[in-house]
């Protein structure tokens, strides 16, 4: 049967107004259901007719999924961001700006202003990979087949993985994910059996765990909110995204770090990268290696070297190794701001 793309197929649209109703609908339709947040990932799949759900559950009418609020017994333990909060709202929120600027910086570098107005924080962390073979409907491992087209002698893999590849070499494209891992965020997931709270880094999975998805959500599950504890509030943050165009581009790589410096030494640190593997990577080895060390260029250089240990380039993505090394170096020891004035 012939294939046609870029025309959305028909589906039944449900627009629940509560999480409970959304869950009921998802339960009712099982694997025929599709969860719709901002639509930026979903509509590509739906327009290409590669995913043809019978029922689409649109979360945009659920008020309890929106907005940024404080949480905890004393109202000062941290913040909770509803999964349907737009990236623009995240960027502009005063508490995020003041205490968790790392997330604001990351969110502001996502795609374009128009996309940030529509895209949500829940969608940004739950989006699928952008591997152009997989997204074009090629029958690869991730799509249930038994080949990776990107990892062949002739495969075009400039934007693919250098770490933790397992049959599939796709990468996670989220900009907010490494920032949330660095901030030690907790993801609130509503399942059939109740609420689960998972560490940000455990929300994401590589192909060795599940080759068909980038996160832990099972059919019927909903990511409802993201909590950021006050652990890293006001810490020293670094975020950098490298992309081809200055707007409307996924990262080639990005890096996020949070540090507490004491007496010139790194007392506490968390650091993560994305675009290097099928899941955003928390770099625990780097954290361990630099903790207690002076925050200086030598420590940065060492951190960069540790970060890329075990990295394996494909034919067209060898640049990601020096790029990751340098980004991690900067995220640890900083970068001199170039003051071109004359």
């Amino acid at each position: 049967m012939a294939v046609i793309r870029d025309v959305m197929a028909a589906f039944e649209l449900f627009q629940p107004t509560s999480i409970t109703d959304a869950q009921k609908l998802l339960e009712q339709h099982g694997t025929d259901a599709w969860v719709l947040a901002g639509g930026l990932d979903s509509f590509d799949w739906l327009k290409d007719r590669i995913k043809k759900p019978k029922a689409v559950v649109d979360l945009s009418g659920i008020e309890e999924l929106r907005g940024v609020r404080s949480y905890g017994d004393h109202g000062a333990d941290g913040i909770e961001i509803g999964a349907m909060t737009t990236l623009t709202e995240v960027v502009n929120h005063p508490v995020i700006k003041e205490k968790y600027g790392l997330l604001g910086q990351a969110a502001e570098l996502v795609a374009s202003p128009q996309i940030r107005n529509q895209g949500t924080i829940g969608g940004n962390v739950s989006q699928d990979t952008r591997c152009w073979y997989y997204r074009s409907g090629w029958p690869c491992y991730r799509a249930g087949g038994n080949i990776c087209y990107a990892d062949t002698p002739e495969g075009r893999n400039r934007e693919h993985a250098i770490l933790h590849a397992d049959r599939c070499v796709a990468v996670n494209p989220s900009d907010s994910a490494p920032a949330l891992i660095t901030l030690d965020a907790k993801f609130i997931v509503r399942t059939r059996r109740g609420e689960r709270i998972v560490d940000a880094e455990d929300y994401f999975v590589g192909p060795e765990i599940d080759i068909t998805r980038l996160h832990i959500l099972q059919p019927g599950d909903l990511l409802t909110a993201i909590r950021i504890p006050s652990t890293w509030a006001g810490a020293q943050f670094y975020f950098e995204k490298v992309r081809d165009r200055n707007v409307w581009d996924f990262p080639l790589l990005n890096v996020a770090s949070a540090m507490v410096i004491s007496g010139g030494s790194i007392e506490r640190i968390r650091i993560a990268v994305n675009g290097a593997a099928a899941r955003p990577l928390r770099l625990k080895a780097v954290e361990d290696a630099v903790r207690g060390k002076p925050r200086d260029p030598a420590t940065g250089e060492m951190a960069g070297r540790v970060a890329v240990q075990g990295a394996v380039p494909l034919q067209f993505n060898a640049y990601k190794i020096p790029l990751m090394r340098n980004l991690v170096k900067r995220a640890v020891s900083g970068v001199e701001e170039a003051k071109w004035s004359s």
Binding site: R5, D6, V7, Y133, R245, P322, E336, W340
Partner: protein, 848 residues
């Protein structure tokens, strides 16, 4: 970091374009004004093809080939046609036979058997339309297409031009792999291009192992001057291989089209660059009489060469409309546009250039392989040689080229076709030579720059062609001054922290005008003037701008002028195609001729009514009156007299030398006022070209490979300025188009399967507004071209090559010569080469 850089803080203050005053001594020419279509465009009320509706309108969708080359063995559409709401299917069998072309001088050009027809039973690229289904809505049409079963016989395919030139390499078409043109004969003129087979030898390909472009046999070649002694006498000889990208036109309006038939005529709505000239193209594609075609194209969302006369696919809704006896809308999706929407052919090029110690080019040996795609031969390859020969005036030059077919989407002209590729191949070599010879980058270009009636290309019958004029040296000098070139070059340090700055300059030029077209205006009895514009409304504003010349000549305020455009039923004159930057030159000439014709008629009418001789009258301030005072009449009165007089004055008769299309339009206005209609018969000595000197500064982070263009300036030699704001839009807009080729736009193919991977809009990475400096600058010399009455030349294409090459040259200034040998240049190129200390990307592999 990233965000902060986007502030694009200014470093060196450049002269503001706004400080210049254009059109000195004119009332309208060279002045800014509000075009009649402005509000419709900015408020969204403008109707593009997709916005039109007709009663009972159906929609159609296309079935695209999943394979790069195959034969359709069988189509089973039973299940699709049985669906409720499905009205018809159209296959290649339903297409009219390709029509021969009858040119205006009576020559018949036989239809090519290799030509593109809109639908096919032998797809020659992945994404080629095979059939179309019309249904009550798009969803039904799409579902019907999914029910169609096609049996394909896969055929050999190739996506990299070098792969088909190898001994035993696959052919993209069953008849061969290259376009050749038999040599011209005295009796028959140039031969018709044909597809033949060309294979190079294993020893030719030995060069590839050394990272250099193999140079096997080519079908086309020319030489002038003494190449050998040029190289022998050179102080420096460089031999470089360079690849330029294939870039989709990516017009924001896709080539959607709507059509219906009424009283035996077909009405087609689609975006085009050229309203009047698209009509004969439609007639030829449908193989019907041009009188049976009405073509409507009020607004066009971008063309850049991809819609010179629209696209052949517009006949699909027209034929389905005939089959279903209902209007049919074909909305082309972004993905379909990627396949059928045209692209610039990439070049694999090699140049050996000899320089004297002063930097003068003593000899230039140029070799290009042009990736043509599967259909009609594009002219980029020969054009690249001519442009390089004009722009750098080598003392001796050989050009060799081969236009290779591949199973990749069809190419067409794209802003500066061949010009961009030629400029982008040579400019980095000149930059490198200047560094080797210790010369200033502006200086080495100044010494090679064309001047006056500069020659180009090979000798034809003993004589080389030449330009009408070139003031590029002045544009280069003025640009260098405005950009504060010397100050930037002298600035230290070059590196702060991890960032390095570099500056680049490039010359640029392209064809800037044709001659011999018609104009048509009517002075109405109420004193208003209507200008009939056959130019497409393609976004350049030339559709309206050129008529300012007519109003200026006739001394009529612009508020009393109307311009008619966008519909061939509204009686338009024979007009040039808006391609090759012809329009401003060709149609200001026609507008001038037409206004002069109207002026002569006004003088004659005045003499007839008021006595004396016509030359004793002058035309100004909406009147025709005796020179030095005395009797006169208003234009309104003259228009009434024209109607009384009839004949040539009110359109009952037309001048013999007008084109038949213009004559028919003149006749349609008979009796409605004073009709001015004339052909541009003004002489021209030389061929018209326009020129730009482009300047760029970049800031590169050597730890990430990321770079920003921090400043850009284009200094243009484009003749008399007609409309500064539109001109500035073109100079900077087309510079940006060129910059896209430097900073990321390209195609990526999987060569094993012959499929395009970069098919999403965001994959092909056209430049965004945030990829260029906030404060890009332009200026124009405003020196009239001496070979045209108004002095104006075209501007669309000349800035493109310079946009790209100035950025590339700024990058090599910052990073050295061992980074890139292809465009675009991105973080991957920069980082891997910096790590290795030499260019690390494959030197010749296409589409990576």
């Amino acid at each position: 970091m990233d965000n902060k850089r986007l502030d694009n803080k200014k470093v060196v203050e450049t002269t503001k374009a706004a400080e210049r005053e254009y059109g000195v001594g004119h009332k309208l020419i060279g002045k800014n004004y509000e075009t009649a279509d402005l509000y419709a465009k900015v408020t969204g009320s403008a109707k593009y093809a997709e916005d039109f509706r007709a009663d009972g309108m159906l929609f159609c969708k296309l079935l695209l080939s999943p394979m790069p080359h195959a034969r359709v063995k069988h189509i089973d559409a039973k299940a699709a046609l049985a669906m409720p709401g499905v009205k018809a299917i159209l296959t290649a069998d339903d297409l009219p036979a390709p029509a021969d072309t009858l040119t205006d001088n009576g020559t018949v050009i036989k239809a090519s058997k290799w030509g593109e027809r809109g639908l096919t039973m032998e797809p020659v690229y992945q994404g080629e339309p095979i059939l179309a289904v019309a249904a009550v809505d798009e969803l039904t049409a799409a579902e019907a297409i999914e029910k169609i079963q096609i049996d394909f016989e896969p055929l050999p395919f190739v996506v990299d031009p070098l792969d088909t030139l190898r001994p035993g390499g696959p052919n993209p078409r069953t008849d061969g792999n290259v376009w050749t043109r038999p040599p011209a004969t005295a009796s028959q003129g140039p031969g018709t291009p044909a597809i033949t087979e060309l294979k190079w030898t294993e020893s030719d390909f030995a060069e590839l192992k050394k990272g250099r472009l193999p140079m096997g046999k080519t079908p086309d070649e020319w030489t002038y001057g003494d190449l050998d002694s040029g190289f022998k006498n050179a102080a420096l000889v460089l031999d470089e291989t360079f690849i330029t990208p294939d870039t989709s036109h990516q017009t924001l309006e896709t080539r959607s089209a709507m059509a219906y038939w009424r009283n035996g005529k077909v009405y087609i709505y689609t975006g085009t660059q050229s309203t009047a000239q698209t009509l004969p193209a439609i007639a030829r594609w449908l193989n019907i009489d041009p009188e049976k075609v009405v073509f409507i194209s009020e607004y066009t969302g971008g063309g850049f060469g991809s819609k010179i006369t629209g696209g052949v696919t517009m006949i699909i809704p027209a034929l389905l409309a005939k089959k279903t006896n209902a209007p049919v809308m074909m909305r082309i999706s972004r993905e379909e546009e990627t396949f059928i929407g045209r692209a610039r052919p990439g070049f694999q090029g090699r140049m050996k250039v000899g320089f004297s110690k002063e930097g003068r080019i003593t000899a230039l040996d140029m070799f290009v392989v042009c990736d043509n795609g599967p259909y009609d031969a594009v002219g980029d390859s020969p054009s690249s040689g001519r442009i390089v020969s004009l722009l750098y005036q080598p003392q001796a030059m050989r050009w060799r080229g081969v236009t290779v077919l591949t199973n990749t989407p069809p190419r067409s002209a794209q802003s500066s076709p061949g010009g961009l590729q030629g400029i982008v191949i040579i400019e980095p070599i000149i930059a490198k030579a200047a560094r080797r010879l210790g010369l200033d980058q502006v200086g080495i270009r100044r010494i090679n720059c064309p001047e006056g009636k500069a020659e180009l290309g090979p000798a034809i019958q003993g004589k080389r062609q030449y330009a009408t004029s070139s003031f590029l040296k002045e544009a280069l000098d003025r640009g260098a001054e405005q950009f504060k070139w010397a100050e930037r070059v002298a600035r230290t340090p070059k590196r702060i922290g991890t960032t390095v700055r570099g500056v680049g300059v490039s010359l640029s030029c392209y064809v800037g005008g044709t001659i011999g077209f018609d104009g048509l205006l009517v002075i109405k009895p109420d004193g208003r003037i209507t200008f009939q514009s056959g130019i497409g409304n393609l976004g350049t504003e030339s559709v309206i701008d050129v008529h300012r010349v007519g109003a200026e000549v006739l001394g009529v305020p612009w508020e009393k002028c109307d311009v008619t455009w966008g519909n061939t039923a509204k009686n338009l004159p024979f007009t040039c195609v808006s391609g090759g930057s012809q329009t401003t030159h060709a149609m200001t000439r026609a507008a001038y001729a037409t206004a002069m014709d109207a002026k002569k008629k006004l003088q004659e009418i005045a003499a007839k009514k008021l006595g004396g001789k016509p030359e004793q009258y002058e035309v100004a301030n909406e009147r025709v009156f005796r020179k030095g005072g005395g009797a006169g009449m208003t234009l309104a009165q003259a228009a009434k007299h024209a109607i009384e007089l009839g004949g040539i004055y009110d359109g009952h008769e037309a001048a013999d030398d007008l084109h038949k299309l213009t004559k028919a339009s003149v006749a349609a206005f008979a009796g409605q006022g004073l009709v001015g209609a004339a052909k541009d018969n003004y002489p021209r000595d030389g061929n018209t070209y326009s020129y730009v000197a482009s300047f760029a500064e970049v800031e590169v982070d050597i730890e990430t490979g990321k770079y920003y263009i921090v400043d850009f300036l284009a200094s243009a030699d484009v003749g008399t300025v007609i409309h500064p704001r539109a001109l500035g839009g073109q100079v900077l807009g087309r510079s940006t188009l060129g910059i896209g080729h430097a900073i990321g736009q390209k195609w990526v193919f999987d060569p094993r399967y012959g499929e395009m991977l970069s098919k999403r809009f965001y994959h092909s990475k056209p430049p965004t507004i945030l990829d260029v400096p906030v404060d890009m600058q332009w200026s124009a010399l405003d020196i009239p071209d001496p070979e045209t009455p108004v002095g104006a030349r075209g501007v669309g294409e000349p800035p493109v090559g310079g946009g790209c090459a100035s950025v590339l040259n700024a990058l090599s200034d910052a990073l050295g010569d061992e980074i890139f040998q292809r465009a675009p240049v991105n973080a991957d190129t920069i980082l891997t080469s910096l790590e290795a200390g030499r260019p690390m990307q494959h030197p010749l592999m296409a589409h990576i």
